[in-house]
Symmetry: C2
Subunit: 370 residues, 2 copies
């Protein structure tokens, strides 16, 4: 149900291809996030035109609303949201951790309250697999506990062991025709990361993700964990760094052998008027753009930059027009997907280190304040 | 700068064509409203694909934000909003009347406070023409006082006379290459409507609008005024009924010889989840649609109906996704533009009366509660 091959490598960076029945995902891949079944402000056909090859959707959100039974009844998530390419669904572990006001972790699962209406729910590994089966995603994730930061060694150990037990139960409940990825936890303890990776590799998943990162720890510590943990993963399986999308971090992580990324940064920033460009980050609300007839990014080929002036984009933003969110989201997603395309090209040509060096000042301008 | 010809008539209904340097407007025409320079939730390219031939934009809004100087500086409204077809701009008379918390009508103009920031402004006929010149619209409207309802005869008389004086001043300040329409006022007094029409016709405008209708008066009174006032207008000029878009009222008014309409109904209703269909009006939030895999309107060829289920549209609406507003707006605008296309077809075939009869039950289902 999922075939992965490495096409070429450049230092530790990998150019690969994941083949699913619904299409090929060229890696390193960026997965735009369609939390509720829609990449915010975008249509699925626009996502295809932008060159997105895989979307991520959230099990937690779709379970709470509209409910996985409804999505199964009307033909599954692909048909529901009109996206015919591959979909990866996360497991809800991170959302229970980050969104639910009250959660109780038990050995059997997690009790939590809905962030929508406060109703009480209990997610177990088996239910999470049932939900992902009903959604019919191409790649499912195991239910995990996202270890918080900071966490003492004992907590991190207990937590990774719980994640391993849940991973086993997810594997037993694996859906036919659906790939399943394990999630390495272990907090910021290298030896616990190794223990987690070893336990999961022993269970044999279709791919491996790193979880519990970018949860408040210093960047250097995160890079250390990504570099070390990535080196522990089977080289013939996809490596997925969950929830990370600052392009600095992406470059560092691709350099460490990571193949897959997801993040709401391009779309969330777009809605807030923050735009990533080849000349650095732009806050479109700035007064200086009010009569600027030039495009947002003179080096960009996206619909927004080919058609509209900064003056218009500023006006749409200031007027709170929906078109503002559309044009901004489209541009930022194009920037991200183009960045990944260029990263793949660099790995293919063996120029990834040079690419990383060239991109650093642009990324500093784009990301250093955020 | 504007050529109008009648192609055929059916009773009092007229099939016509307005030719502008930027394209042909087939009448009866619906003008979608792009208040701030964007038809809400839509891109201009989508509006073109839907078959819109002319857009309306608001002088009042664009004067306050971003300011007409800015739009002139960056190349005019067509370039700013990326709509290459004809644009009609209203004069701000109605917005000053309906949006400004405090307004003082003087002989020279109207003092009012911005609904955005409370700042004080003074609009005169000359300034309104300067603004519309800066925007570069294809059809401008004279600055008028929208007579409120109810208004006593003396007020309505004073008001229409003020509108005539302002219309003269607008004509003197007419922009080269821009058509200018007069606006008939007179409240609900037939003889005052006649006086207003006569005075304006004496000034010779490129087209004539009926203003001050649908401002709270009973429907029957409105129909009476539309029928009578329309009969007073020069048959060889376009007749525009301002701000009216309930399709019942549209049918009645086309039957009375009206050629042009504008209204926010399709887009505003769309954002509130109310959708017009060939089977009647649908509130997409209704529980019964939660697992309805069928399209919104089985007889509709729009992108929304060709791709998405009612279950998905309901989910998008309940999740407050931007895609909900996009898909709903697209559908309602398609419904409106298709309705106008079919009306023109009926007039062309001499079957307008039959069309009106056939559409009545559908429109009753679509509009009777609203």
């Amino acid at each position: 149900m999922l075939d992965f091959k490495i096409i070429s490598t450049d230092h530790n960076a990998r150019l690969g291809q994941i083949t699913t029945p619904r299409g090929i995902i060229n890696t390193p891949a960026f997965m735009p996030v369609g939390t509720n079944g829609s990449v915010k402000a975008m249509s699925p056909h626009e996502m295809k035109d932008l060159g997105a090859e895989v979307l991520l959707s959230n099990t937690y959100h779709l379970y709470l609303r509209p409910g996985h039974d409804i999505i199964r009844d009307v033909g599954g998530l692909h048909s529901f949201m009109q996206w015919s390419g591959p979909i990866l669904t996360d497991s809800g572990g991170f959302q229970v951790f980050s969104l639910s006001p009250l959660r109780k972790i038990k050995d059997d699962g997690v009790e939590f309250r809905s962030h929508i209406d406060g109703s009480l729910h209990f997610l177990t590994p088996e239910l999470v697999m049932e939900i992902q089966g009903a959604l019919g995603s191409d790649i499912a994730m195991v239910f995990d506990e996202c270890t918080p930061y900071p966490a003492d060694r004992e907590y991190a150990l207990q937590s990774l062991q719980l994640t391993t037990r849940w991973a086993k139960r997810c594997l037993e409940a694996k859906n036919e025709g659906q790939a399943l990825f394990g999630i390495v936890q272990g907090g910021m303890y290298a030896d616990l990361r190794k223990q987690s990776a070893d336990e999961l590799i022993g269970l044999d998943f279709d791919g491996y993700a790193l979880g519990g990162l970018s949860v408040g720890e210093p960047k250097e510590l995160m890079y250390e964990m990504v570099n070390y943990s990535s080196s522990l993963l089977p080289p013939d399986k996809p490596h997925y760094l969950m929830g990370i999308g600052d392009l600095f971090d992406v470059l560092e992580s691709v350099g460490a052998g990571i193949d897959m990324f997801d993040c709401v940064m391009p779309t969330r920033n777009a809605r807030n008027g923050t735009l990533f460009t080849s000349l650095g980050r732009i806050s479109i609300k700035r007064e200086e753009f009010k009569n600027d007839a030039g495009p947002l990014d003179p080096n960009c080929s996206c619909y927004t930059c080919q058609n509209y002036s900064k003056a218009f984009l500023r006006h749409m933003y200031m007027s709170r027009e929906i078109l503002s969110m559309r044009l901004n989201s489209l541009h930022n997603l194009h920037f991200y997907l183009e960045f990944f395309r260029r990263m793949r090209e660099a790995v293919s040509k063996g120029t990834f280190m040079q690419f990383r060096k060239e991109m650093t000042p642009i990324l500093q301008n784009n990301f250093h304040e955020g």
